[in-house]
């Protein structure tokens, strides 16, 4: 693991490094270097080799760096954070925090990973995050109250992420209920929150945030829905560490406000970022599919849809928007 990390630190600048140089530096054979490079390729890194020149990445990548991340955080947020851990690889940053839960408190503990081997989406779907291509971040937070009052937290996290993106110069990002991070109907990021607690006790949440920074072409093609990343949105995308730090800062500030004021403090902002409002959509529930028009959200963050002339509210379901029919929205 260490060797792969050191190897990647050299290759990150996108320049050629000879197999002999890398072998000498890492104190292993050239064959061993070849094997390590092979593993890094499997992690989704586009490394190629040229005879007589060595190995290089097709383009430089910015590796995660604690001090750069911290310098993008507000002093208030830094004051509230207990720990930031940066991992080279992990199954899933959410799982990593949940596993710690049995032995440690995880309040205000953060984990970022360069690469996730089993990143999770909703209900077993995968979150694909090749090395260096995105931001995989999990934040642990404890609330004094029960989980039922936390449901709209899911939406508030979305507001925090979009506002962090705006601060780093990424404009035009919206939210699709409850918290998909969307740029022109393409998914730029996603949020998965897992909570644990007794029925009537305080609850601990692990907030997982995934953001696409610079996905390889072949990864974009194999994801089953339209996706985009910061590198495709902008000619000069912001630094990965800057974006990570700003997302952390905004999310911690949000959690602090949410703990006392709840979702009411974020309702208006969410509504301004609502990508679905007025659009025709299909809502997939566990046992049926409903079609109608998205009206927005109610004060508790529940989705409101107009279905066969009736307004209905939902707290779960997968929403997919039909963008082609937006032209027919009433004024």
């Amino acid at each position: 693991m260490k060797r792969k990390k050191v190897l990647l630190h050299y290759l990150a600048d996108g320049k050629f490094y000879s197999g002999q140089f890398l072998a000498d530096t890492l104190g292993i054979s050239r064959t061993a270097i070849w094997k390590q490079v092979h593993t890094l390729k499997k992690y989704g890194l586009d490394i190629y080799s040229v005879r007589g020149k060595g190995y290089r990445l097709s383009k430089p990548i910015e590796l995660l760096d604690r001090s750069s991340i911290e310098s993008a955080c507000s002093s208030e947020a830094l004051g509230l954070i207990n720990d930031i851990e940066i991992m080279f690889e992990t199954e899933s940053t959410n799982q990593q925090l949940l596993d710690k839960l049995s032995t440690h408190g995880i309040h205000a503990r953060l984990i970022l990973a360069e690469f996730q081997t089993a990143g999770r989406g909703r209900r077993g779907s995968r979150w694909i995050s090749p090395a260096g291509a995105g931001i995989c971040l999990s934040i642990g937070w404890c609330f004094d109250y029960t989980s039922d009052s936390l449901t709209a937290l899911s939406l508030a996290v979305g507001v925090a992420v979009v506002s962090a993106l705006k601060q780093t110069g990424v404009a035009g990002v919206c939210l699709k209920w409850p918290n998909d991070i969307i740029y022109q109907n393409r998914k730029l990021g996603g949020i998965l929150i897992e909570s644990r607690g007794e029925v009537a006790g305080p609850s601990t949440v692990v907030i997982g945030i995934g953001l696409n920074v610079d996905l390889p072409e072949q990864v974009i093609d194999c994801i089953g829905q339209p996706v985009t990343d910061l590198a495709r949105l902008m000619e000069h995308p912001p630094s990965r560490n800057d974006v990570a730090g700003t997302i952390i800062s905004e999310t911690i500030d949000m959690l602090n406000v949410f703990a006392t004021h709840g979702f009411a403090a974020f309702l208006q902002q969410w509504r301004e970022l609502d990508y679905g409002r007025g659009k025709q959509a299909t809502l997939m529930l566990s046992d049926k599919m409903l079609q109608g028009r998205v009206q927005g959200i109610n004060d508790n963050g529940m989705l409101v849809m107009l279905i066969e002339g009736q307004l209905k509210e939902f707290s779960s379901g997968e929403l997919s928007l039909r963008i082609a029919s937006t032209a027919s929205i009433q004024p």
Partner: protein, 147 residues
Amino acid sequence: MDIRKVKKLIEMLEQSGVSEIEIHEGEESVRISRQSSIAPPVQTVVQIPAVATEQAATDTGQVNSESEGHVIKAPMVGIFYAGPSPDKPAFVERGQNVMKGDVLCIIEAMKIMNQIETDFSGVIGKVMVENGEPVEYGQPLFSIREA
């Protein structure tokens, strides 16, 4: 009943999220409902249909008062999942021993996966909900007998 009081009640109802209110005062009673077919006074706005919450069929017959032991109820509205992901087995099954703090199920609400812990140690008596079924607040999910 004083007509001004009724008028006040109607105004209160209009400003609230309540769809119907019934007041009893001695022998008199009045019921005011937003879902009635009373036409709005001015016909310029399209009448907004009353909001109907998607309701799960709560089978109250499941909760009989025979000595089921401790009943774990849904702490929120959402979708009930018996296991951590569709390809994994259920957290608990009938007859299984559980300790306080063990995870019994997941209830998903607004994409938050709430792992529900038991506050009671014992043996799982009944699993009262099917995987993937919507649950209402307070709906019984499991019964746990003392071991």
